[in-house]
């Protein structure tokens, strides 16, 4: 990439950045509530977001800036295999539709703010609560760091070098998140998402037109993969099929276990808001599928890049006039701010409710919770920034990959109780530990690849390690539960009328899943 500063692009970028900064601070007064007096206000925007705000907010923080950079980069590098993001972000919605309204009801009735709150309220186990909270915080940190990587890529494309621009952007983000809480990213998400929609719709019409149509784009990409030796291509090799499907399924189950996506769910006004969003959010998936194709357009445009992550910025710079390239880069950079803000809020909520309140100050007031969370969000962001400044980027990538497999291990503790109270906390904790231990060790010993292999009848099958770890997790949890139930038949000192209430009101929902 050139070091020439692109003044037109940069001016447009600065204009939009200033716009969202003002919006971020003004957001504190939007749908105003007492932001400093209750964590529900700072950390969940007052639990009042309706269908459209939730659509923009969840769309804005689930489909991150890093996605816009990384998915086309992966497709550029490995072809069809990189497309697993598409089935993943389709099958996630039937799951969201069936499960998340139930979770929302539990959280709403008891005033829970985090996944670990739900787990503690259900099982009465401080250990399981802490396991879920720490998993959420640790899995989120590298994810925030990757948003910085995404932002850094487009800032570099505009010719700015050094780390000062990123540091400045992040400090501003940290300040308005501190003052406005979840309202800031919710408001900025409107700008971000509309900009991204414009960029992608223009790109998928204009770029193929300049390159000779989609057939030519696919043909050029197919030729490029054949020239590289044909280990990957426009369709999957037989040995890639199982990894493809298991990555899609495992990622879909993990997606709404993350603190940032759950924060979007808990901030919704009603269970029906979430159901409607399960119907409407796939619009973003269509967008993601088109974004992924930018990777093939990179081959058709014959651009050369130092790393695949530069494909999208380079493509825009090559094919767009500089003002529209600037607009596109602004969209991606602002696209990093929304998820980074929601992630830090989700992690801060976990720290406040499940570490600080549980272990340091159990008698904390509502205003005290808000104050602790605001500080925690600053610490989380500074941590992510330090991560990027002082450690190799590859660490963030590796840790984010591990984070996906870790967060998936909180699935049984969080979701199973919505349908059955058979499992015991001790079993779930043991299953969680087994899943994390085996999954981490396997990914680590495979050189940080997310795949594990199993030899069956002379054949070797590769699959997503997170899904394998989840199966182990559930098996261990079940066996341990059987043992615990034999030793302590009456067990379960804690009540969870809230959950059972759901069984009685809607038995058909429980039956069918």
């Amino acid at each position: 990439m050139t070091d020439q500063i692109e003044w037109v692009a940069l001016s447009i970028f600065i204009f939009f950045f200033l716009l969202v900064t003002v919006m971020g601070f003004v957001a504190a007064r939007w749908k105003a509530g007492p932001v400093n007096e209750h964590l529900d206000e700072w950390g969940l925007g007052g639990r009042q977001f309706g269908t459209w705000i939730t659509w923009f907010l969840v769309g804005g923080d689930f489909y991150t800036a890093y996605t816009v950079i990384a998915v086309p980069a992966l497709v550029y590098a490995v072809g069809a295999y990189g497309f697993f993001a598409l089935p993943y972000t389709i099958i996630v919605y039937p799951f969201v539709f069936a499960v998340m309204p139930l979770l929302w009801k539990v959280a709403h009735r008891a005033g829970y703010v985090t996944a670990a709150d739900v787990v503690h309220g259900t099982y009465g186990s401080r250990a399981l609560e802490l396991a879920v909270a720490l998993t959420g915080i640790v899995a989120t940190m590298p994810y925030i760091a990757l948003q910085l990587v995404g932002m850094g890529t487009v800032i570099k494309a505009m010719g700015l070098s050094g780390e000062l621009p990123i540091v400045a952007a992040f400090i501003i983000l940290a300040l308005y998140t501190y003052s406005s809480g979840l309202r800031a990213p919710a408001l900025i998400a409107f700008v971000k998402d509309i900009m991204i929609y414009i960029v992608v719709l223009v790109a998928v019409v204009i770029v193929p037109a300049k390159l000779g149509g989609y057939a030519a784009v696919f043909a050029a990409a197919g030729d490029a993969f054949a020239a590289k030796g044909g280990a990957t291509g426009l369709i999957l090799k037989p040995e890639q099929m199982l990894p493809y499907a298991t990555l899609a399924l495992g990622s879909a189950f993990a997606a709404f276990m993350y603190p940032h996506t759950l924060t979007g769910v808990f901030a919704a006004r009603s269970a029906d808001t979430i159901r409607k969003n399960a119907i409407l959010l796939p619009a973003y998936t269509l967008l993601l599928g088109l974004i992924a194709l930018l990777g093939y357009m990179g081959h058709a445009a014959r651009i050369t890049v130092a790393t695949p992550n530069d494909v999208v910025p380079m493509l825009f710079k090559t094919l767009f006039p500089s003002w529209f390239a600037g607009f596109s880069f602004s969209a991606i950079a602002i696209g990093a701010l929304v998820p980074a803000a929601v992630m830090s809020i989700g992690a801060a909520n976990l720290f406040t409710r499940n570490v600080w309140k549980s272990y340091v100050n159990p008698g904390i007031s509502h205003a005290g919770e808000a104050a602790v969370a605001k500080i925690a969000s600053l610490v989380v962001k500074v941590g992510a920034l330090a991560f990027i400044l002082f450690l190799p980027v590859q660490y963030a990538l590796d840790l984010q990959l591990l984070g996906g497999l870790w967060i998936l291990q909180t699935f049984p503790a969080l979701v199973f109780a919505l349908y059955t109270r058979w499992f015991r906390a001790e079993g779930l904790l043991l299953g969680w530990a087994a899943g994390i231990g085996w999954g981490t060790w396997t990914a680590w010993s495979n050189g940080m690849k997310p795949l594990a292999s199993l030899a069956l009848g002379g054949e070797s099958y590769s699959f997503f390690v997170g899904l394998g770890a989840l199966i182990l997790n559930i098996a261990v949890a079940a066996v341990a539960t059987v043992i615990v139930r034999m030793m302590l038949p009456e067990g379960r000192g804690y009540c969870s009328i809230l959950i059972f209430d759901d069984f009685t009101t809607s038995p058909q929902r429980v039956m069918s899943f």
Partner: protein
């Protein structure tokens, strides 16, 4: 009705259903337009299930 929600899982996770180049549509190989087509189909299926269930809260 709730069984409809399983269809996207079956249609997308059984890769041998769609791991082909032909027939292409508007220049998109089958692998790509088949999966993209599942986006509106899934929305429609979820909507059908949503429509068929009692709306338990106005808020």
């Amino acid at each position: 009705m709730w069984m409809l929600l399983l269809l996207p899982f079956i249609g997308l996770l059984w890769v041998p259903f769609y791991n082909f180049l032909e027939p292409a549509l508007f220049g998109f190989p089958f692998f790509y337009w088949y999966q993209l087509a599942w986006v509106p189909i899934s929305s429609l299926l979820i909507w059908l299930v949503y429509r068929g269930q009692p709306h338990d809260e106005a808020r």
